[in-house]
Subunit: 286 residues, 2 copies
């Protein structure tokens, strides 16, 4: 039985008769190929990436597994539609908290058609992309007692200060509170050898070297599970994944300086929170 | 006696009755304060940078020393004009080779006025800035026998392939030749503990951390001296310096991801040349 994924925080959703991704509940995520060139581009990326021998195994694990395509009944009732078959990144998680961060100070690529370029540029300047090198595209924070999930309109209006506060709120035990976030889970989620920061630094090292792909408009999905085990709530399985590859270009021997710059900016925000979870001087500077 | 500097490769030049910088021949460089806000901004930057205690000493050495301002007879004959007093970066060099690299995939800053934004954006897209994260603003290569110095118009038309080739030609013993550059001085200039790459990596480490300044439209000036000593030509004193601070903004707690991204891209180009001076596959990919 295919159904809309519970923990999707950005992008088109398969609800109310619209076209969107589906999950099978046992580990697979079906993403409908987007119209115009985007669907074909994303399929081309997954195909090329899967068979690219120069991708280190550790780096490959940051990407959803790809299992080909399949014609499926589309969620909007329009009949059969080709879907990418990908790993469901949230399979098996009970209470996942998720944030989707679109990386890069610009989402347009040098050869972009003029109307697409204008649209991206306007969004990059209006959102925090130009200023911070990334923007939040969506999030949910699952607490034992409540779920905080800002609306699409709220997310679109986030300014630099909001982004800084939300990265703290994302690892707080009172996410829905309007008080200063307590960052109770900062070290468990962001810190440690397996934490978010360590994973981002691994990605960074790869982006300093790799000249295979340029990831325009792609996102880093950060998640962890608020597992409610017997000895109390304990956030675990902090994960960093890359998603959304409709605008990946051939790197042509040049590093992806746009993605790398934004990634380094995000790393600095996360490091600041880890260094001193109570220090909000960085937030006040914005 | 003040006179126009011999080794200036980019920017307004004090020749033919125009306003431009002057040198005193004994170590000082006088840069006329630019009109509109740019002069005031550059002076403000130098003043703030000089007294900023959080700048590590090693990093400070990448910037020209600042010695206040002075009213001097302008080179365009317009009478007294305020000049910044800076270190002459080429004092004492006999045959300096110099390249001016404007860093960042965008030269406009988020709060830029609309007309300035449009002008910068057009140049960033037309030049290699958007694609490579930096562009060449000017260069001269001094050989024992000849000097190669492309015109302003030639420099403006450099594409990605040209930039890649010029970074090789810059360290070749036959810079004016149309043949494939021989990279004879690559390891002497770009390599080693005191070489260009090592200096760029030091800068990079600082840019990953520093949130004090955002350097829009600033340049990295790479130079070395083709000293003609008794035991033959031996390039020495490879130097990396930052210049042009008319558009430096307060970092407000965010790293300069735009400069950092471009710097990492430049580092990758230089590393490739060092790894294999004969390998031009990178060049062919462009």
């Amino acid at each position: 039985m295919l159904k809309p994924p519970e923990h999707q925080v950005a992008g088109h959703q398969a609800r109310d008769g619209r076209l969107g991704p589906l999950v099978d509940g046992s580990g697979l995520f079906y993403k409908p190929l987007q119209s115009d060139d985007r669907g074909a581009n994303e399929l081309a990326f997954y195909t090329s990436f899967s068979s690219e021998p120069r991708i280190p195994t550790r780096i490959r694990s940051f990407f959803p597994g790809f299992h080909g395509t399949q014609l499926l009944r589309a969620s909007d009732g329009s009949g059969l539609h080709p879907h990418l078959i990908l790993d469901d990144l949230f399979a098996g998680l009970r209470l996942p908290s998720v944030i989707d961060l679109k990386i890069g100070s610009r989402t347009w690529f040098p050869s972009a058609p003029e109307d697409y370029f204008r649209k991206c540029l306007a969004k990059d300047r209006k959102s925090t992309s130009a200023l911070l090198g990334f923007r939040i595209s969506g999030l949910q924070v699952n607490d034992e007692d409540c779920k905080w999930r800002p609306s699409h309109d709220e997310v679109r209006r986030f300014n630099a200060k909001d982004v800084c506060r939300i990265l703290r709120r994302f690892v707080s035990s009172d996410p829905a509170s309007e008080c200063e976030p307590n960052c109770a889970f900062a070290s468990a989620v962001y810190g440690g050898a397996e934490g978010v920061l360590a994973q981002l630094l691994e990605l960074k090292a790869w982006f300093e070297e790799q000249t295979l792909f340029h990831f325009y408009s792609a996102s880093i999905l950060v998640s962890y599970d608020n597992d409610d085990s017997e000895d109390g709530r304990r956030p675990n399985r902090a994960r960093v994944r890359l998603v959304d590859f409709a605008h990946v270009l051939d790197g042509n021997g040049v590093i992806d300086h746009n993605f790398l710059g934004g990634l380094c900016s995000l790393i600095k925000f996360i490091s600041n929170i880890l260094k001193d979870p109570d220090d909000i001087s960085n937030l006040n500077a914005l």
